[in-house]
């Protein structure tokens, strides 16, 4: 049952991946400036530029270029980075664990806090607890990430000296240092997410708590904990899962800024450097990775749905 759903969703993902790769390809021709001129470097002769152009296949007609592009991708060849002395694939492979660690840790902070805060706000609606949670949540989604991140660095790294202000240590090398390096960036990334999740959970819970089956649960003699934690939350979970998909997506976007502030060598920082250096193959590679990531996130959400809501099960 899950297998069939997965197959169906994977087939749906194929055109999305194709479109993303075409867009990545178009990057070369759509961005201002001539890639051949930039790649050949400053002060290059017209001849040298022409050689580069031929080397990149940019002198060929559009459809030939596109065909070659797909052929290369099919081989798993993302090309060589212009600014780094390595292939795009290995450059991304090195940095992916950093971004995944950051996103994973921030999600681990976000989920329990966001769900709990949203639930108690809904349960104690229109009380001071509700107002407090909603005010903090509003702050969380409104304060710009880079600003609060810089304030956090000044407070926890510069003034208090508790945490490193930048840098990254792989988990395999030293788990404690890994955690110390990532906790502040992850927490900063979580602020927006917690605010967002708390608000979504609150509204989902408010909706569920007013349903008739909640009264049924109470009429059975169930405790408030069981009524809210089991009967209400199982229903609100459907909404929370949707929100989770959005959260992971925003974590990808947010990581670009956060990695920059904390000098974390992740994908987000890589793509910023790539764009500044006009490293076309690198930017194309990251675009594809991001595209894949979104497809996988949506696939995961779809599969999780079937566990949360029996009504959408395909059987």
């Amino acid at each position: 049952m899950i297998g069939r759903l997965l197959l169906f969703k994977l087939l749906q993902a194929v055109p999305v991946i194709l479109i993303v790769s075409v867009l990545a390809f178009l990057l070369m021709s759509l961005l201002p400036g001539d890639p051949a001129v930039i790649i050949a470097g400053e002060g290059a002769t017209a001849e040298a530029i022409e050689t580069v152009r031929r080397g990149l296949g940019l002198d060929q007609p559009f459809h030939i270029q596109l065909g070659r592009w797909f052929a290369r991708l099919a081989e798993g060849n993302f090309g060589a980075s212009l600014m780094l002395n390595q292939s795009v694939l290995s450059a991304m492979g090195e940095r992916l664990p950093v971004t995944l660690s950051l996103a994973g840790l921030s999600l681990a902070i976000t989920l329990p806090i966001g769900i709990f805060a949203g639930s108690i706000a809904a349960y104690y609606r229109q009380s001071w607890i509700d107002s407090l949670v909603m005010t903090v949540a509003l702050l969380g989604v409104s304060i710009p990430g880079f600003w609060i991140a810089i304030v956090a660095v000044i407070l926890f790294s510069v003034t208090l000296g508790w945490l490193p202000s930048s840098g990254y240590v792989p988990m395999s090398q030293d788990a404690v240092q890994w955690f110390r390096a990532l906790i502040m960036p992850a927490a900063m990334l979580s602020l927006f997410q917690i605010g967002f999740l708390a608000r979504m959970t609150r509204s989902a819970m408010l909706d569920v708590l007013s349903q008739d089956f909640i009264r049924t649960a109470r009429s059975k003699g169930l405790s408030e904990w069981k009524t809210v934690g089991k009967h209400a939350f199982r229903n609100a979970l459907i909404m929370v899962i949707t929100t989770m998909g959005i959260l992971v997506s925003t974590a990808i976007g947010g990581s670009v800024v956060i990695e920059q502030v904390f000098a974390l060598p992740g994908i987000g920082r890589l793509v910023v450097q790539g764009i500044l250096a006009r490293d076309y193959p690198l930017v194309q590679g990251v675009m594809l990775i991001y595209g894949f990531a979104f497809v996988i996130i949506n696939l995961t959400v779809d599969v999780l749905y079937t566990f949360a809501d029996p009504r959408v099960r395909y059987d």
Binding site: F213, R218, S219, K220, G221, K230, I238
Partner: protein
């Protein structure tokens, strides 16, 4: 009734918070439910039937309602003053409830087995496996075919009538002494209605429990109840055994309800309807609350609220003109 009643509601006044302050939903409601009794509560929408029923289990939305006065005695305790913990022990075990809309009363993301087992595990201390076995027996009891297979399904696979059977199975799981059924057939087709009523009737004798059936349909009440409480605008206006009520209803409102029932054997005629409408919860009506709609209203009806007066040992009426001669004196 000679023996001690199972539940005794006395002087119950419930208020709800509205935009214009506290509004009175029921006022000085008093009636008893005997052990094994079969009580019908009838009245229009907004007459306070459901509010009274929910008060017995204290299931009103929190923060928006309050009990101004009254007691609800059950098993030597006042339920209005019992702790929340005591109430939880009573809910689902001693007193259970079936609600109006079976489509929304079951949790859509939990299996039928889970929803029936819950009360059994909570109140009877059954293990998951024992509870499941009992859940299948209960589904059999409420006449759901192929119970062993259907027990693991989710509510969306069941029709409205089937869901109401499941609700009844949940309610009777712990063999309660009182089952409150709040308009259990209103949301269902007429044919299904009859089946559900028959099921409730059979279960009542089989399990020897009292049933309080709430309905706006006097036909349903006539078929089911042994005693009837008629409510209007938050008050009990008449309380009598069903045969007495149908033979000689005394309150003009009860008469109106009777007259607006279609007669199957009589000549076809335009159905009677009581003129006017039930007053809004925020509306103030001086004197008898039915007086603006009453064809027999006198001067006294417009000034003073009449008392609920016994006209015979088991018949009480709240109507000043009608009880004047037979009255309390």
């Amino acid at each position: 009734m000679a023996s001690e009643p199972l539940v005794s509601i006395e002087n119950l006044t419930v208020q709800f918070r509205t935009d214009r302050g506290w509004a009175t939903a029921t006022e000085s409601v008093s009636f008893d439910i005997g052990d094994g009794d079969c009580l019908g509560v009838v009245g229009e929408s907004g007459s306070g039937k459901s509010v009274t029923a929910l008060s017995i289990l204290r299931l009103h939305a929190r923060g928006t309602s309050r009990f101004n006065s009254g007691t609800i005695r059950y098993d030597g305790r006042d339920l209005l003053r019992a702790s929340e913990r005591d109430m939880r022990a009573i809910r689902g075990r001693d007193i259970a409830m079936v609600f109006q809309d079976p489509m929304s009363s079951l949790n859509p993301v939990l299996t039928i087995c889970d929803q029936i087992s819950e009360t059994l595990m909570l109140h009877r201390g059954l293990s998951r496996i024992e509870a499941r076995k009992r859940a299948i027996e209960l589904l059999d009891l409420v006449r759901i075919a192929d119970a062993a297979r259907r027990v693991d399904e989710y509510p969306h696979r069941f029709s409205g009538g089937m869901r109401q059977r499941v609700m009844i199975a949940i309610a009777i799981a712990c063999r309660p002494r009182l089952l409150i059924a709040d308009e259990p057939t209103t949301a269902l087709d007429v044919t299904i209605q009859a089946q559900i009523l028959e099921l409730l009737r059979d279960l009542r004798t089989e399990l020897n429990m009292a049933v309080m059936l709430i309905s706006h349909d006097l036909g349903v009440i006539a078929e089911f109840a042994r005693r009837v409480v008629v409510m209007y605008a938050g008050r009990v206006v008449e309380d009598a055994p069903v045969d007495v009520l149908f033979r000689k209803a005394m309150h003009p409102y009860t008469e109106g309800l009777m007259a607006s029932m279609p007669a199957l054997d009589g000549p076809v005629r335009r159905l009677y309807s009581i003129p006017g409408r039930i007053p809004d919860i925020n509306e103030q009506v001086a004197g008898c609350r039915f007086s603006p709609r009453c064809g027999h209203a006198e001067a006294v009806c417009l000034t003073a609220m009449p008392d609920l007066v016994p006209v015979s040992p088991d018949h009480r009426v709240r109507c000043a003109p009608r009880t004047r001669t037979t009255g309390a004196g």
